[in-house]
Amino acid sequence: MRDSDFGLTLAAGKTKYRGKFHGLGYLRYPVALCIGSVLAMILSRNQAHNALFLVLAFSCLGGLFGLLDAPFAAAAQVLVYAGAIMVLFLFAIMMFNLREPAPRERRTLRTFLAAILGLVLFAELAIAAVRAIAPGSVSPGEPDGLAGLGRLLFTDYLYAFEITSLLILAALVGALALAGKKEGG
């Protein structure tokens, strides 16, 4: 984001609008799909369906980030949340082999706490959004976008980046050692 303070560069058709809230209309369908899938996730009683709806919600969020011209956030959202974390969820559901749906919960303390936490989160996001669009605020954004990120990864953070490969190797070997088939019967 070079010059728009909210960090929204909206592409509608062939023309690019830069500004605060102009032309958000085209986002209406992805947002609706996102909210709808989250609602479906909460309301569905089948664990596998819950997880799949959550995948859909994460993918929608990723798509929204992409439409808002934040390609890295979009890719990370899809790869990390929809890809890695949800696969873990699905594996857990598969391993525990949950057949019958979860029992219907009563409105207890937990629901109350969840509502309060939701409100707190909403207030937090609202404050952050108001601060971000306040005049004179600096958008952190991605300074040079993906190219800058790549350059950092292969210069300043090369050592850390290479250690990550070591970490993945250790995890791979460890998983194989713990779960692999026993040698020679």
């Binding site: 090369l158 850390a160 070591l166 190797l169 250790a170 070997v173 050692a177 040698e183 020679g184």
Partner: protein
Amino acid sequence: MGFPPPIPPSVLALAPLLALVAGALLVLLLEAFLKRKDGELPAFVAVFALLASAFFTVVSWNVGNSGVYLHGRLLVDNLALLVTGVLVLAGIAVILMSLKYAAHQDMNLGQLCGLLLLAVAGAMIMVSSSDGLVVFLGLEVLSVASYAMSGLKRQDRASSEAAAKYFLMGSFAGAFFVFGLALVFGTSGSLDLTAGLSAGASLSAFPAAGAVGLGLILTALFFKIAVAPFHMWAPDVYEGAPTPVTVFLTIVPKAAGLAVLLRVLLPLLSGETAAAAVFTPALSVAAVLTMFAGNLAALRQKSVKRMLAYSSIAHAGYLLVAIVAGDAPSLVFYLLVYLFMNGGAFAVLVAMSGRGFERASLGDFAGLGRRHPGLAASLSIFLLSLAGFPPTAGFLAKFYVFGAAVREGHILLAVAAVLASLIAVAYYLKIIVVMYMQDAEAAAAFDRDDPALFLVIFLGLLGVLQLGLWPGNALSLIRAAFNAF
């Protein structure tokens, strides 16, 4: 002077790590493609890689190759080189111990060696950096490899339980570290653990979020070292893991974590700063809790392996005293001595294990003094050293640490440490009494054909006695290393 290094300094700084990683890859390839699975070739390759790593460390030391490399991510100094030496020695000892043990307990030696090399590499990454991100990645490499290693005895439920427990708790500790690092980065704008913190040495200039972040990072490190409110996982994991892996877990993560703690806290604790006023009492309380929790729980144990597990928790408390005193030489000396005495004591446990089982209960040690006088005498010396009796190195190590605490004015802490050591004498002596004063119900035959293991025990004895009687060389080396620190 001597030979000029044929390799550029930045490559030399990385060379100990590169040797280990290359060795790990070679071991894993051998493991995958070798036809004969029960061979000891992977172990020899692994020991060779560790020796190569030690060689490059010594070369680095000799040419004085200290400095900052790779955009400040890699820091080589005397502390890093000394602790790297300890880590490599521990790795070699663990591999030599597990040659026969792996075959007896149906463990895959190749996997053990590969994971061990990766874990030592992770610990090495941790100690040779002051960058929070790199320290975290090293910690994770070390941890992931350790989780897998503690579950390598696949037929044994306790071993699998140890791996699962360690993995779950360790993941939480890792999350604490990342969250803390994010807070420190958010408030200071720097990933450098030492610079970001010493800049805000006065608490008023130290943002609350940054202090919370530092607290979370310390919590994660305390978990890895098994310091008292965060030590609950340790006894089960240490007991369930295969015995050579227990040796690894009681030495390498502790050494690496303490080195990082020293690096982070030394600038913070020196001087009459407000930060020191908060962290010194907190660390002292943690140290006292650790010493007493470990020693009091060890008193009640029936299994010698579990007793030694609790004893290693208590030793983490003694080591923490050195951090509170801010005395790097006594910390490194204690680590070195601890490597010899703790490794030696567990090596005797390895020697007592048979095909498919371990003898770790107190009753198994009855009459050992008559049947296997050599083993019993070695174990007695290691235990006396752990307890801190004078002719052994354990006494000197404790003496230097507690002396440093008194010198820095932490009299109460030193008194508590001495009291804790007195409690510890009770259970160490209990094992010796059982070995020499009680008769065994059934004489158990041991497999004595394990030269590598007896080499480890012999080297342990040599270390404990040599450092106890003539510590001059090692001490002057360590002191000289920290004069410029």
